[in-house]
Amino acid sequence: MKSISGIHNKLCLDANLYQRRTQRIVLLKGPLVISRMFTVQKKSAIIQAVKFPDSLQYRYAGIMKDIANILVLIPCHNEQDRISNVIREVRKALPSADVVVVDDCSSDDSARVASQEGARILSLCSNLGYGAALETGYLYARKKGYEIVLQMDGDGQHQADQLQFILEPLSSGTADITIGSRYLADTGKISTTLTRRLGHKIFSAIVLILSGLHISDPTSGFQGLNRSALALFSSGIFPCDFPDSDIILMAKLSGLRIKEVPAKMKERSGGESMHSGFMPLYYGVKMLLSIFIVLLNSHIWRSWRKQNIEGPRLSN
């Protein structure tokens, strides 16, 4: 199967060829191009795109957005007041992407509200934690053969119109993981607590020292993954609670390309943050231990890299 970047060139040609024709011709040609290039079924994405003609752009970026098999993954726990708005914004930004909400055993009506908005719901029967909810989404995405997974929080902090910046490095094939950083975005003063800012600095420095990778916002859950990253994260190694710096380090040691992009974020409009109370203290200790374990397991990541990253490249 060809990579996304391989399809990029072909689609650029096709987009130019059909730019002067009507939208319908572009859409009809789409499935033919896709069926030649992919082994997995992508036609449904185009058919879905017909339903949202306003979103279609004749530029390559627009076509790419519509044909690539994209899943927007939203883990949520008790977000009934915010989740519908989040889904609506995602639909506006990426109309052809599938939206999956992982309901981490909410005690409110989050799942029903999300379902009414047309999102597919993955309902966990027990509260497993943020990381496990994400992992469930990754497993689903892998089973369904999605090319790209974009993840954002269900509390409305992450803005759906920023998804395109997360998507771009993945669709152009320049990164395996993209992380949206609030510190790189030009938003003026960022209102975070001193503890959180300090935590970001410390873990950012740890990641930099251990992997040479500068990540300004290591706790950002606003991320995008391609198939390689999806394969690593759904292999049973994903932590249940806080998948942050440890996961970044693990991905880097596994040979994945990580890119940080600016992404504007909003303040929480309500609900309870998972970093409230004594949680930051637990988070710090847990993350340090987790990073230590990741380093101890370096041989696992090295062998994963050989099997999944270097092996395929050599055989190509």
Partner: protein
């Protein structure tokens, strides 16, 4: 060791051993989790019968009295048991996580298939 103390210790250790075996027999305790309890009961029996071994051990670890050695051994046994419980809980947590995830995925995939069938039927009729 005084004879009364010896008899009491033997009775208590034997009772513990019998209790563990009976619980396993009645399937209230899994064989997988009973080995540490059996080890504790057997160890107490051995210590009572071969009391001089405890004195030798005290000399080896440098404790002045046998009571200290016994306390240390008991403490170590309790720590081991807690560790075993943590292992069991961790394994159960992993299993529950996997189960919940699989249930959620299967449920969603069933819905996907149903939606596909419904839209297929609509296309056929429409």
């Amino acid at each position: 060791m005084f004879p009364r103390q010896l008899i009491a210790s033997v009775i208590l250790s034997t009772l513990l051993l019998v209790l563990v075996i009976r619980l396993v027999q009645k399937q209230r305790l899994d064989i997988a989790y009973c080995w540490l309890w059996i080890a504790v009961a057997l160890a107490s029996l051995v210590i009572v019968i071969k009391y001089e071994w405890l004195s030798k051990m005290s000399a080896v670890i440098g404790s002045l009295t046998n009571t200290t050695t016994l306390f240390l051994l008991g403490f170590f046994a309790v720590i081991l048991m807690c560790l075993q419980f943590s292992l069991v809980i961790s394994a159960h947590r992993r299993q529950i996580k996997k189960l919940c995830q699989q249930m959620a995925i299967i449920e969603a995939m069933n819905k996907d298939d149903k939606d596909k069938d419904t839209s297929g039927k609509k296309d056929k009729h429409g």
